[in-house]
Amino acid sequence: MTRTDYRRTFPILTTKVNGEPLIYLDNAATTQKPQAVIEAISHYYAYDNANVHRGVYTLAARATNQYEAVRDQVAAFIQAPRRDTVFFTRSTTESLNWVAQTYGEQTIQAGDEIVVTALEHHSNLVPWQQLALRKRAQLKVIQLRPNGELDLAAAAEQITAKTKIVAVAQTSNVLGVTTPIRELAQLAHQRGAVIVVDGAQTVAHQPVNVQELDVDFYAFSGHKLYGPTGVGVLYGKLALLQQLTPVQFGGEMISNVTFERTEFAPIPQRFEAGTPDISGVIGLGAALKTIQQLGWPAIQRQENQLTAQLLNGLLNLPGVTVYGPESVAKHGPVVAFNVNGVHPHDIATGLDLAGIEVRAGHHCAQPLMQTLGVAATVRASVAFYNTTAEIDRFLVVLREVKEFFQQ
């Protein structure tokens, strides 16, 4: 199957919005789902539904095997060394909060430093900020270069011997820039800190190897990866996970319980309290298979081309300000911009009337907006299923909307 064939397996991409063919350019918020994912969920409920890890009967074994097989897939997908170093959460947000509540809670003491960057999503900022406030630790921020790239020299200054945790997104959900995770990991480790990476905007767009990056924790969401909502992943280094105690208790995360005390199960069960999102995990398995079948080269070729078209198209529109690097080589498939004198909401509504769905707002990155000196931006973000014709149409309509408001 070619990339175009794969596009056809996304049912929503053939629908209309406001009477116009849908052009979905909010992939950074959530991606659309292929038929394979929708069918994996339906099939599970129509043929295999049972609770996992609990029953000795056939249906329960089927459900458990399918669920656990996805753990293997996920481990392979990010090149984790062992299957038990990944566990399922609800989302990137939960994964990152979990690290703050376990490793953070156990490690951080008054006077310690937690280092984040100026481009973090609230989900990788607020948990650390609140932890720092609780512990009287210091939250430090690595600033960006004027083009939005992370400044490694600034990072080397901010990360000190007092730093215990460095938390950073691998790809910005606003500027599209990618941060140098390997170098940051090295800096962190040299100073005795761990590095926690928010991969929400990365995993759908490039291969990730957590061992090569040498990260301590890596978090992402299924729904930004062509999978269902309700399922996220956390990878952690074995030695770290083994030393951590759970934050939620109950269900199959125990090995022995009396009224007085509880022995916890080994990892990863220890961290999956209660009935997990079984159908979500199975849907994620189908999504990973789709990515694998299509292959990174096809995905990256198309996304690079679309990003170039988008970025250059916007840079060439007079009266438009583009945030982040102007070079495609430094760009993930996300472009934030503003039309001078027109509010992002008005632009998004204008595009929406033509069936073109883009985000307008602060993109859950208010401090970054403050850094950029704006209240909000428009954001267009592509996935491999978008087409050059869609980007052309987006640019044409954007110009019309711009003229309407600037008339």
Binding site: V342, P344, H345, T349, G350, H362, A375, V397
Partner: protein, 149 residues
């Protein structure tokens, strides 16, 4: 896309109010009520003075979209000079209008230019933009009213 669709929401009178909002600007010595729209980070501040149960001053300042700016502008036109209870009734009527609920002809007439914002009802995600200023005025009214007592 036909720009006709855009004209449905952004009627000329709305664009005019947004481009040259009435009663725009704050005075340093008056109490102010600020609300924000968390989705877009927009911030809107109103100042409202009631003298002898009548709104004698009403002005605003905001960073916001066309709808919220225009709505704030027409709001000042509509509510200035009204009694507290008239204003409260009109705020309620405006809320209904933009939610797509029918309102009494009398209220509609009183709303004047603001009635044009009824088209927002077709754009559910923009309703919050249209109501922000009116909510701020409602809140300011409870504050000044309480101060009076």
């Amino acid at each position: 896309m036909s720009l006709l669709n855009l004209n449905d929401l952004y009627k000329t009178v709305i664009l005019e109010h947004a481009q040259a909002p009435h009663h725009y600007g704050l005075q340093p010595d008056l109490p102010a009520t600020t609300l924000n729209n968390p989705t877009c980070g927009d911030v809107l501040t109103v100042q409202l003075v009631v003298t002898a149960n009548q709104i004698t001053t009403l002005q605003f300042s905001s960073t916001g979209c066309t709808i919220s700016q225009a709505s704030a502008s027409v709001m000042t036109d509509v509510l200035l000079g009204k009694s507290v209870s008239e204003a409260q009734a009109l705020i309620a009527a405006f809320s209904k209008l933009v939610m797509g609920t029918p309102i009494a002809k009398h209220d509609r007439d009183q709303l004047g230019d603001a009635a044009v914002l009824g088209s927002v009802a077709q754009f559910p995600t923009r309703i919050r933009c249209a109501t922000l200023a009116w909510h701020a005025a409602a809140q300011a009214l409870t504050e000044v009213t309480t101060d009076d007592q």
